[in-house]
Symmetry: C2
DNA sequence: TTGTTATTGCGATAATGTTGCAATAATACA
DNA sequence: TGTATTATTGCAACATTATCGCAATAACAA
């Protein structure tokens, strides 16, 4: 399974990079060329497999994707909080790490910490 | 808009109480009598409006509902973390409070902190 | 240039959740 | 108790998000 470089991938990656904050499928569709819905989803999931982006689940239950910035190749570092504005629905990463203590016998695999409220533009 | 007591409400509330952890619509449907899907959703949303339950969004994007235990009537206290097992999909509250610092101009309205991994039964 | 196969588009499908409307039933009140 | 009011329910339809199978296309290696 060798990956191939395609325009659609470049476009999606470009969009995510220039946006800076997390994007939903809907937001991506509005920005990139007219690709099929399934195509965008598949690209995003492939990126996620490859560790290029990480996924955040919004308060609305939607998936958001953001470029991995502080992540090592193997040691993904996603224990930071995200913020979603209740008005404009923008999702962004907060520079706040969390220390999480789980009860005995529990194994941590991921963390999706989402603060909701109003961003500086909407407050 | 005066609320009325119905069997369906009693059943849903009873199910949530005896379960102890958060439940999705699917889980509720399997436990309570055969009510219409819309009915259960409406009951849950009414409970939420009244502050009887709070809602958690799972890593799968689904809604989960749990009885409010430490919440005051007006001052809801939902800044605690939830845990969802990646195997059995159970959602439960962790007794861990968080201190969240938002950037200037941001207003906090809610927090949905979800740790995913393996619970003690599945690890 | 050609063969292999990763990728795409299309359509169908699944799952979750909400809404409008008519029928039903819980409650207040005569 | 009987009756009126209206909250609640069931049903069907709908909206949205996301995935999947399959055939066509296109990226890449040789």
């Amino acid at each position: 399974m060798n990956r191939r470089k395609t325009k659609s991938k470049r476009d999606v990656l470009e969009a995510l990079k220039s946006k800076g904050s997390a994007m939903s499928h809907e937001m991506l569709e509005a920005v990139v060329e007219d690709y099929n819905r399934a195509t965008i989803y598949r690209i995003l999931n492939r990126f996620r497999e490859e560790g290029i982006v990480h996924r955040i689940v919004g308060v609305n239950g939607k998936q958001y994707f953001a470029i991995c910035t502080n992540c090592e190749k193997e040691n993904h570092n996603h224990n930071h909080i995200h913020f979603q504005c209740n008005t404009c629905e923008k999702v962004e990463c907060l520079n706040e790490e969390l220390q999480i203590n789980l009860p005995k016998g529990y194994v941590l695999e991921g963390f999706n910490g989402l603060v909701s409220g109003l961003c500086s533009n909407c407050s």
